[in-house]
């Protein structure tokens, strides 16, 4: 155990898909990821999909990877400057370079996290990593202040994630 970090086990990549929904369910538009999580729980997803909710993203995302995932879809509220409710579907390497906290109010951003993962734990990184970002506007009020346009985009984001998961599943098998 003490040397585990030095000698990582390298599992075989499979068709497994990890969907991680991020956000604080008590904070206005930051709750978008949690809303998506709740709705995805009630929908049909391929059997190889693992659905998780994480209050915050950042470096802890790496703990969730087993090395067996072929695809990881990260769902989070974002502020990329588009109108509220815009849904972005972006491969991680095309994410805009933003300051820390751009994707999460805490910890470090997805792009940095994946870069760290590639440098330190390449064996754990999925082949494909996608961000489904829901553009929010309000991150400093409580949940009841979710921007109507952001709230209205939740169902579309769920459909997009379902479709992406099914397509990814097909591509991996």
């Amino acid at each position: 155990m003490p040397d585990e970090h030095k000698n990582p086990v390298v599992p075989q990549k499979t068709d497994k898909i990890l969907i991680v929904c991020i956000g604080n369910d008590l904070v206005a538009d930051d709750a978008a990821g949690h809303e998506v999580f709740l709705r995805l729980q009630r929908t049909s997803l391929p059997g190889t999909v693992r659905l998780e909710y994480a209050a915050v993203g950042g470096i802890a995302l790496l703990d969730r990877l087993t090395g067996e995932e072929g695809v990881m879809i990260v769902v989070d509220a974002v502020q990329f400057g588009a109108p509220a409710g815009t849904i972005h579907c972006i491969p991680w390497d095309e994410l805009p370079v933003l300051g820390a906290g751009a994707l999460s109010g805490h910890d470090i951003g997805l792009k940095e996290t994946i870069e760290i993962g590639k440098l330190l734990y390449p064996e754990k990184l999925p082949q494909r990593i996608l961000l489904v970002g829901i553009e929010g506007r309000c991150f400093n009020l409580t949940r009841d202040a979710m921007t109507p346009e952001t709230a209205a985009a939740i169902d579309d984001a769920v459909l997009l994630i379902q479709k992406t998961a099914h397509v990814s599943q097909g591509a991996l098998t």
Partner: protein, 476 residues
């Protein structure tokens, strides 16, 4: 007519939440005023009102994704106090074990994600590479150990707390967790590994820190903010992160005050600033207000020992080489490192105590009244104060978080950096680095600290050269 120049740094990178720094210069280049403007407002105290008191450990943990366990346990302590119960010994130890896990995680995150870039790459490094990815590229093996240590802390927190980020098991009257043999074995392995890693990291990180100090001697000579220090102690003066009394020592390290949590409002005085959502706090003593710091350096100054062998050995080394009390902001990193070792040692110690097996809850009923509880959060003393009615409903809440207690010192640090890097030195980049570094030493968590409602205007305008460059929204 005096034309002022305003320099804004927006945002200060790698601190939790969002912040703005202002440095106002007169037209002859002298410092007029400087500070950190906090523009994020969460209003959590307001939403707690009207909720079941039982829910406080769960809800307040969600205030922040970085220090949730601190809120979870401060709320539990406050509810125990409100109900007039004492959690059973096993519950107290299990809460502390959960907390040690969280603190290991939090200190690793702070040292290596927030401060690592400054320590490894240097203050003068290009900001484009002075980030955590740059750290990983420069010292991958150290980064790997640090991140592994962080993960272990989070795992310990998760095993005892039920969830890693937002724990759920601590409740009024104890903890909804019983240690079984499987968990105990796993926790022993994790705490052993955490101690091994923290002892390996100590000399390496310390060397990086000393190298930066050699390069920038002003860190020890000029970037010093003398102030009172506040921490939590057991009756014999040993540090305690979860239980104990609050102690305040003056700039010279003399013990001036020691009081139980419920008396905090007699000794700590909050005041509202007209330019920030964050309230400032000072120690009130003999009708005078004293700025103070909380957090690892303050705990080092205010307490007499850690009570574990390796941490106390390093503490003696600190006193021998640097001295005590210490007011050099850069030394927050050194004391954070010592605490990392202490947390790992303490977690191992807790697991060896037979009292950890036993009843973990007592029945709770709220008779109506006030409940105050506190913990030493990673960043400093955290106080929860609730008014709870006889139906168990919260009628008022006041939270005092670490960053607002450090706020006066953070602002002094910004002013120091401005004086040393602005006056007659037109290097904006060096200024930005110095200001950011100074603020990050406090490891501020502004999303926690901006919960209190003030009476500020609806918008705050930030100007530069007389032009509006930023408009800040506020809660109404």
């Amino acid at each position: 007519m005096i034309m002022n120049k305003t320099i804004t740094i927006d945002p200060v990178t790698r601190i939790e939440g969002h912040a703005k720094v202002f440095i106002n210069l007169t037209d002859d280049g002298q410092l007029e005023s400087a500070g950190l403007v906090v523009n994020e407002l969460r209003g959590f105290e307001k939403i707690l009102t009207g909720m079941d008191a039982d829910r406080m450990p769960l809800i307040t943990a969600r205030i922040c994704g970085v220090c949730p366990t601190a809120h979870h346990l401060a709320a539990s302590n406050a509810l125990d106090n409100a109900a007039g119960v004492t959690a059973p010994p096993a519950a107290v130890l299990l809460r502390e074990l959960m907390y040690m896990g969280h603190l290991i995680h939090s200190h690793c995150l702070s040292l290596f994600v927030l401060q690592g870039p400054d320590l490894v790459l240097g203050l003068d490094a290009d900001p484009a590479i002075r980030n955590v990815v740059g750290v990983v590229q420069a010292v991958p093996e150290i980064a790997k150990k640090a991140l592994r240590c962080r993960s272990i802390g989070q795992k310990i927190n998760e095993i005892v707390g039920g969830r890693g980020t937002h724990p759920v098991t601590s409740v009024a009257g104890g903890i909804a967790f019983v240690l079984d043999s499987d968990n105990e074995r796993q926790l022993r392995e994790l705490t052993d590994e955490a101690l091994t890693l923290s002892l390996e990291l100590m000399p390496v990180v310390k060397q990086l820190l000393m190298k930066q100090i050699e390069k920038h001697p002003a860190m020890l000579s000029d970037w010093v903010v003398p102030a009172w220090s506040v921490g939590t102690v057991q009756p014999d003066g040993t540090i305690d992160m979860l239980n104990g009394e609050i102690r305040a020592v003056d700039k010279e390290g003399n013990k001036i005050l020691q009081f139980p949590t419920r008396d905090y409002d007699q000794h700590l005085s909050e005041s509202v600033l007209d330019w920030s959502y964050m309230k400032q706090v000072a120690v009130l003593h003999e009708n005078e207000r004293h700025d103070y710091r909380v957090g690892p350096l303050a705990r080092f100054n205010a307490t007499e020992r850690y009570g574990t062998p390796e941490a106390d050995r390093e503490r003696e080394e600190f006193i021998r080489t640097i001295g005590r009390p210490c007011h050099a902001n850069v030394m927050q990193s050194y004391t954070r490192l010592i605490e990392l070792v202490y947390f790992a040692e303490r977690a191992r110690k807790i697991l060896s105590m037979p009292e950890i097996h036993g009843e973990t809850r007592v029945p709770v009923k709220f008779p109506g009244g006030r409940g105050v509880g506190h913990v030493e959060a990673a960043r400093g003393t955290l106080i929860h104060d609730y008014e709870i009615d006889e139906n168990g409903i919260v009628r008022a809440a006041n939270l005092i978080v670490a960053t607002q207690q450090n706020y006066a010192l953070i602002n002094k640090t910004v002013a120091q950096a401005a004086i040393s890097h602005v006056i007659n030195r037109p290097d904006d980049q060096a200024l930005l680095n110095a200001v950011e570094f100074g603020i990050r030493c406090y490891d501020p968590c502004l999303s926690c600290a901006t919960h209190a409602l003030g009476t500020m205007p609806m918008e705050v305008a930030v100007t530069r050269g007389g032009s509006l460059v930023q408009t800040i929204r506020r809660l109404c």
